[in-house]
């Protein structure tokens, strides 16, 4: 072995061995292995192993409007205290404009209101009080809503028994979910699509004219029935007790009532519930879920035990799902699904199989071609190419990257492009062989001259791949990862491994002249 430094051979051989050894976990692919070594396997993306990707958007507008409604109620109370009549309250996009009959006490009203809600923008314009939600106030609402939503979503997903879900905030008002292995995405979407805001209200059956005119007096609301929107109830606007006081809910079955949900309150809830039912025996109590009345049974006697059941026209699954929703709590605002990508396990397996076939056939074709064109040198380049593939696989496994279908495409593409560095070197060697006859000098010059071209050429591809990673989403990122790893690995294999192999070959074959 002429002029080939020991340390260099050692480095090349150990890197190649590491590349091959760390590809083993991904090749064996034992899904449940706890072995520290076998755990270094490639993570399959949802498009390959099957599962659901969901992007949810918190409907903040609903929250803002709710907050403005609260303001309106507070203003009404304050102005009643100050005995000032309100002429009109108009709801604008970002605020409220309250017009009073006279503007004597408008400053006092403003100050009392300010005591309750600090950080709002308040402005007086003759008899009008303008209340605006400014950006900071909105941001607070937004942040706490997202935080709460994340927690509730996590609880609901846990209830479905999904293994290793990924649930995280994405951008300002979105939540991203990756649910591997989910077989029934529709059920999950149903669970996430409900706010599950549960409240109990006393029904006002005496004021029949309000229902006829469809006009709720102050402190009351009109709510329709869940199963028949023509049935309306007049209810106290303030709820007697709400879902936040629930500590447990279960689907249950009752001989007379059918499927139902039984629930239990915490101490505070039990006290409230006990008090309300004691004071309102004989009246009806409506159970409202997300703005509609599920049921409105009559209170026959005070309920002080802190537990009860909700009956409705449920089947077993509906009762169980409602129990899940009640247990995990209400979302602060509705969530809207803005993107969904669900892949069944069958398609995922097909994609893996197809990708493997494409990679193997692509590899064989390229290898045959290289041998046809470059003979023995082509065979050496093929060894590099195969090692290159092992290195990509082992890097993917050890850095915990996710392999997606476009990622497989990236690997196949790399197989075709990886020989480029070898080709550049061989072509240079070919040129050098015309200029001189010393075999090792030819090879050395060939590698040296090709080096800067190889770097230039590969860095442009890397730039494209990195930007693709920065701007791409999910599966496309998988492509940019495999492409980048492939490009980096191909530079190593060409400049170091092929170099080593060529020197070895020339030393052992004892070549006196080189014609490529």
């Amino acid at each position: 072995m002429k002029n080939y430094p020991i340390w260099k051979s050692f480095t090349v051989i150990s890197l190649v061995l590491l590349g091959i050894i760390f590809a083993i976990p991904s090749i064996i692919y034992d899904e449940n292995s706890e072995n520290w070594f076998l755990k270094n396997k490639i993570n399959l993306g949802l498009d390959l192993q099957g599962g659901s990707y969901l992007l949810l958007e918190v409907q903040l507008d609903v929250l803002y409007k709710e907050e403005l409604d609260n303001f309106a109620d507070s203003i009404r109370l304050i102005s009643r205290d100050k005995s000032t009549k309100i002429e009109n309250i108009s709801l604008e996009e970002n605020g409220l404009i309250v017009s009073f009959n006279d503007n004597n006490k408008i400053k006092e009203i403003r100050d009392s209101f300010f005591q309750m809600y600090r950080g709002l923008f308040l402005q007086i314009n003759s008899n009008k009080l303008i209340i605006k939600l400014n950006d900071d106030y909105k941001k607070n609402i937004q942040d706490s809503a997202i935080k709460q939503s994340l927690e509730i979503v996590r609880k609901r997903i846990d209830e479905t028994g999904t293994k290793e879900p990924l649930i995280q905030r994405s951008g300002k008002k979105r939540i991203l979910l990756q649910l591997p292995g989910v077989k029934d995405p529709e059920r999950i979407k149903d669970l996430l699509g409900k706010t599950a805001k549960l409240t109990f209200h006393i029904v006002d059956d005496e004021n029949t004219s309000a229902l006829q005119n469809n006009l709720a007096p102050f402190g009351k609301i009109i709510v329709s029935d869940m199963y028949d929107i023509n049935i309306k109830y007049l209810l106290d606007k303030k709820s007697a007790v709400g879902g936040e006081n629930l500590i447990d809910a279960k689907g249950s079955f009752d001989q007379t009532e059918g499927h139902a949900v039984s629930f239990r309150f915490d101490t505070e809830g039990a006290q409230k519930f006990g008090k309300v039912t004691t004071n309102n025996v004989g009246k009806r109590m409506a159970v409202i879920l997300d703005g509609v009345v599920i049921t409105a049974p009559r209170i026959n006697s005070a309920i002080t035990g802190g537990s009860g059941i909700i009956t409705g026209d449920f089947d077993a699954q509906e009762a169980a799902d409602l129990a899940v929703l009640l247990r995990s709590g209400a979302l602060p605002a509705p969530l809207e699904i803005v993107e969904e990508r669900s892949v069944g396990a069958g398609l995922g397996a097909d994609s893996i199989a197809a990708g493997q076939i494409a990679a193997i056939i692509g590899m064989v074709l390229v290898c045959i071609f290289m041998i046809l064109i470059y003979g023995a040198f082509g065979a050496l380049a093929n060894v590099s190419l195969i090692v290159n593939l092992f290195i990509i696989i082992s890097l993917l496994g050890t850095i915990g990257a996710t392999l997606t279908l476009p990622g497989i495409a990236g690997i196949v593409l790399t197989i075709g492009m990886a020989v480029d560095a070898n080709v550049l070197i061989f072509e240079r060697i070919k040129e050098e062989s015309l200029k001189q006859t010393k075999v090792f000098q030819i090879v050395k010059n060939g590698f040296d001259r090709a080096m800067s071209t190889i770097l230039d050429a590969n860095i442009t591809t890397l730039i494209a791949a990195v930007l693709l990673f920065a701007f791409g989403s999910g599966p496309i990122r998988g492509f940019s990862i495999t492409l980048s790893l492939g490009v980096i690995a191909s530079m190593f294999t060409a400049l170091m491994l092929t170099n080593f192999l060529v020197y070895m070959y020339l030393s052992f074959a004892n070549k006196k002249e080189l014609k490529l």
């Binding site: 990508r341 020989v419 480029d420 550049l424 230039d456 050429a457 701007f471």
Partner: protein, 299 residues
């Protein structure tokens, strides 16, 4: 040492630049046609950029017509398509709102439940997301082009940077034009393909430019046209070899990689061919605009 490379003339001496006017006219026409096609016919936008719902099902003993009949009674804007295999059917729907789509998927699934063996995939992209994705894709392509150019600028003289821009713009527009004619679906993967093509085409261009620069130093007296010809010929076998191995891998991906990846593979195949062509016939001749040597002005 054996090798077919001995059959290819070892020192090719093809007068590429002699034909530059013909190729220039060809490319200008191709680009103009592409621009017309993109703006008039447009691209076949997939749900990533158009929004909507897509459901892939595998069926048994059911014809596509039967499914179409069931679905079109409920949906006016439904389209069905066999997807690589007569038992695998792709259902596409346009949705107006996010909420609607959730209900749509559910009801479509209920309608065809008993005809279907497996729901292989369902995708939904809402209107806000699709416009965001389009914007981000556009951003990615623009930033990549700019970054590549800055790199070329740093490594070469600015004239080479200009040649590279012309070639890259040519490749991207020409590829988009062909995608429009062939009605290939334009998706997120297409953006990835276009970026990779940009990287690949520049890669090819850089190798030739590298040689041009080397030859400029080596042959101080040589006429520029001859020098460019020489540089292209020097690197010709590499240009052909790399394009062929890349195409071999891509054709394998196109044929065996499965239906989902096929548009990506096709776009890449088109792009690699155009990119190789442009490196030789567009990028290098562009350099002739510039006088690299003062004495050339006397010619």
């Amino acid at each position: 040492m054996f090798g077919l490379n001995k059959i290819i003339p070892f020192e090719p001496n093809i007068n590429f630049l002699g034909l530059r006017r013909n190729f220039l006219i060809f490319s200008i026409l191709a680009i103009l046609i592409s621009i017309c096609l993109i703006s008039i016919k447009g691209l076949n936008l997939g749900i990533d950029f158009k929004g909507g719902t897509l459901i892939e099902v595998s069926t048994k003993n059911t014809s596509i017509g039967e499914l179409r009949e069931i679905l079109s009674s409920s949906y006016s804007d439904v389209s069905l398509q066999e997807f690589g295999d007569e038992n695998i059917i792709l259902i596409r729907l346009q949705n107006k709102s996010n909420q609607e789509s959730i209900e749509t998927v559910n009801s479509v699934k209920n309608l065809i439940q008993d005809k279907v063996v497996e729901f292989r995939r369902s995708e939904f992209v809402g209107p806000t997301i699709s416009s965001e994705l389009l914007y981000r894709g556009f951003q990615a392509v623009s930033f990549a082009l700019i970054a590549i150019l800055i790199y070329i600028w740093l490594r070469f003289e600015w004239q080479f940077g200009f040649g590279a821009v012309v070639a890259l713009t040519h490749d991207v527009l020409f590829t988009l034009g062909l995608l429009s004619i062939l009605n290939v679906e334009f998706s997120l993967a297409t953006i990835a393909a276009i970026l990779t093509i940009a990287g690949y085409s520049i890669n090819d261009t850089v190798v030739i430019f590298d040689r041009v620069r080397e030859n400029l130093r080596k042959y101080k007296k040589l006429d520029l046209v001859e020098l460019f010809n020489l540089s292209i010929n020097n690197t010709l076998s590499r240009t052909i070899m790399t394009s062929l191995t890349t195409l071999l891998a891509l054709v394998s991906l196109f044929i065996f990689g499965g239906e989902v990846i096929r548009p990506f593979a096709l776009t890449m195949i088109i792009g690699v061919i155009i990119g190789t062509y442009s490196s030789v016939f567009i990028a290098v001749p562009t350099l002739l605009i510039f006088k690299f040597r003062p004495q050339d002005e006397n010619d």
